[in-house]
Amino acid sequence: MNMSKVMFGFFVLLAVTLNFGFFIGDIDNPQHHDVYELFAALVVGLIATVLKFGERSQMGAILLASSLVVNLHLIAAVIVWTIAVHVTEVGLTPRVMASIVSLSGGALLANLVSLVLLTLDTAGLSRR
């Protein structure tokens, strides 16, 4: 067992689960989407990206790319949230909430791709 592999798998998986946790619920209901969960998803996503740095394989490259997509989506969601609540003070209207949650939905998709790739990679590894 390789500790770095454990960490890597842990962060990739955690990024997916947190993202899913935030995403699930009514799309325009602020009650169903917790800000801490979004924050955690972003932080874990960033760490997962950093851990994928410097992989030279094709798989590593795609994993890194999908992670970058995740971060892009989540950062966009955070910016929308910040601007709506703190800058323009529109508040979390259903319209704003829907756009935040749909951005996180996009992130979830990329996260799932990451997960599937990781699974495939692991499966391929065990066959050899």
Binding site: V35, Y36, F39, A40, V43, L46, I47, V50, L51, F53, G54, E55, R56, T82, V85, H86
Partner: protein, 569 residues
């Protein structure tokens, strides 16, 4: 095109940054979350907690040690406690990551790789013809200097770090890119731009013959269009290189032998040949006449053997001095020793000799032989070999009658071949000529060159290269060599330029006479003062100037003037 070395550097950097970046992200997120959880009090005294926006704002300025104070409201004791924790957390995380970056940047291996990548990018971005010089010894240095003086860019490959450092503090007229790597490996040559379409020549002048051989092979195989010039020390390597069409191979021993032979047999041809083929700083040799009689040869290495054979063939008595007379096929009667001692020289009969040849492979020995022998017999004709350029001032001061410098011989012959592809056939034909022709040619040059050797240049008479001349020739008018060389400022004067050689489809003409008529398609090899060839080129492109040069009449420019001129007849 992506470069493997380049992207691996980025990957190396990213991989090393994994841990520091992770630490940084974790520290920031812990500090931010902490601030959103700690209860505080707003300015009205109501309980209040920060949201993520405010928390991240506070962490951002504390982490970077800017510190705006407590915003938006004064902190509660709990928040202050957490501020302390987050300050230490984030500042330490920053120090750690910045420290990692700096230590990575200072890592010698990383810096070397970075430097190479930067140089490789420089070479890839070159958009002018350049020469690839392998080996930066005396020869490589002289070549680099001469090529950059002519305005060519140069890429140098040398594995000795000291020599690269020497190069980096020198000033050149054109950009020089220096790689510190082994020219023996083809990959390194490719990195240095061997396959670039701007690479116009590869010059292999490392000290080792087999490395030069390998470079010549690599260059020929990896880039068909590139011209390859190589130096070598043994005949077998030279033959090997010529077998796969290396454009020019110079063997300093052969070259030294050839010059000495010329000096004995055709002194004026020797002067001309030596002047044209010894680099841009060559001086015209004084007229020498090699005396006949008894000679002493000190050192029986490659050069010594060649000189011995040469003198023997001319029915001269030769005594050899060599440390080990038994070995290496020394002739009978070889005196043991190095020749630096008076007794050894006396034993060889220096008092009755006419000349001495000091060609050991040690410069100090050669100088010592010269001085000792001169003390014993002041009338000796002195021939000496200078192995390295480091004691050049001493050799100059010793004033031998005939000095051989392998490095300038190699550099000079390669440089003249680089000037034009016609130089080699010209040289071959020149060497066949007798002394009188060489004397006339030399006299021609001496009309306008006193010290600096003539610069080769070449060109082709064609509608594209010389439009004006091509039109005149197509009109059926005759243009002779003499007319061609008239000065465009005063047609009765001559340009400081000589036509050495004309290559016509079937025939080659050496030293054409002034009344020799030119034809379309001729290729001309000229030599003369720097810059004169450019003036000639300008004449051949411009109808008015050519007309003036040919007839001495200024043709009027502009339609009105031409009409007036026609009217006045």
């Amino acid at each position: 095109m992506s470069n493997p070395a380049n992207s691996s550097l980025v990957f190396l950097f990213l991989r090393r940054m994994r841990l520091p970046l992770t630490v940084l992200i974790l520290a920031y997120s812990v500090a931010t979350v902490g601030f959103t959880l700690i209860p505080g009090v707003d300015d009205q005294g109501n309980p209040w907690t920060m949201n993520f926006f405010e928390a991240f704002y506070v962490v951002s300025y504390t982490g970077s040690t800017i510190g705006f104070g407590e915003v938006p409201y004064d902190f509660s004791p709990g928040q202050r406690l957490w501020t302390m924790v987050s300050i230490y957390l984030t500042v330490i995380a920053w120090l750690f990551s910045i420290g990692s970056i700096i230590s990575l940047l200072q890592d010698p291996a990383y810096r070397r790789a970075l430097r190479r990548t930067r140089l490789a990018r420089l070479v890839r971005d070159l958009d002018e013809p350049f020469y690839l010089v392998c080996g930066y010894g005396d020869t490589g240095r002289m070549l680099t200097r001469a090529l950059t003086d002519r305005g060519h860019q140069v890429v140098v490959v040398e594995h000795n770090q000291d020599k690269i450092e020497l190069l980096e503090v020198e000033e050149f007229e054109a950009p020089v890119t220096a790689f510190c790597m082994n020219a023996n490996l083809p990959d390194n040559l490719v990195e240095a731009g061997l396959r670039s379409r701007w690479c116009s020549g590869v010059i292999a002048v490392t000290g080792e013959g087999h490395v030069n051989l390998k470079i010549a092979i690599s260059a020929t195989l990896l880039n068909h269009k590139v011209a390859v010039y190589a130096s070598t020390h043994t005949r077998s390597e030279a033959d090997n290189m010529r077998s796969f069409d290396t454009d020019y191979v110079v063997n300093p021993v052969e070259e030294y032998e050839r010059r000495l032979q010329l000096a004995i047999d055709k002194p004026d041809l020797f002067r001309l040949y030596h002047w044209l083929n010894s680099g841009p700083n060559a001086r015209l040799a004084k007229p020498v006449s090699i005396p006949r009689g008894k000679w002493i040869v000190c050192g029986f290495g490659r050069v010594g053997r060649a000189v011995w054979k040469l003198l023997q063939e001319r029915q001269m008595e030769v005594v050899v001095i060599h440390p080990d007379p038994e070995q290496s096929g020394c002739p009978a009667g070889t005196v043991p020793g190095r020749g630096t001692q008076a007794e050894e020289l006396s034993a060889a009969g220096v008092e009755g000799a006419v000349g001495i040849v000091a060609v050991t492979d040690d410069d100090a020995d050669n100088l010592s032989i010269l001085i000792t022998a001169r003390a014993l017999n002041p009338g000796l004709f002195q021939v000496v070999l200078e192995n390295g350029l480091s004691s050049h001032a001493l050799f100059r001061a010793a004033e031998p009658d005939f000095l051989g410098q392998p490095s300038s011989v190699v550099a000079g012959t390669i440089l003249s071949r680089i000037s034009s592809s016609l130089v080699e056939p010209f040289t071959q034909q020149l060497l066949q000529q007798d002394n009188d022709i060489a004397r006339q040619a030399l006299a021609g040059f001496l009309r306008h060159q006193s010290d600096h050797p003539p610069q080769f240049s070449s060109g082709r008479i064609s509608p594209r290269r010389t439009p004006a001349l091509a039109r005149v020739l197509a009109a059926g008018r005759q243009v002779t060599v003499g007319k061609l060389l008239a000065d465009p400022r005063d047609w009765q004067q001559r340009l400081h330029l000589e036509v050495l050689f004309i290559r016509r489809q079937q025939q080659d003409i050496l030293f054409p006479a002034d009344d020799f008529p030119l034809a379309l398609g001729d290729r001309l090899l000229l030599a003369g003062r720097d810059g004169e060839a450019d003036r000639l080129r300008a004449v051949l492109e411009n109808d008015e100037r050519l007309e003036y040069v040919l007839t001495g009449r200024d043709r009027q420019q502009g339609l009105v003037w031409q009409w007036l001129e026609r009217r006045s007849g």
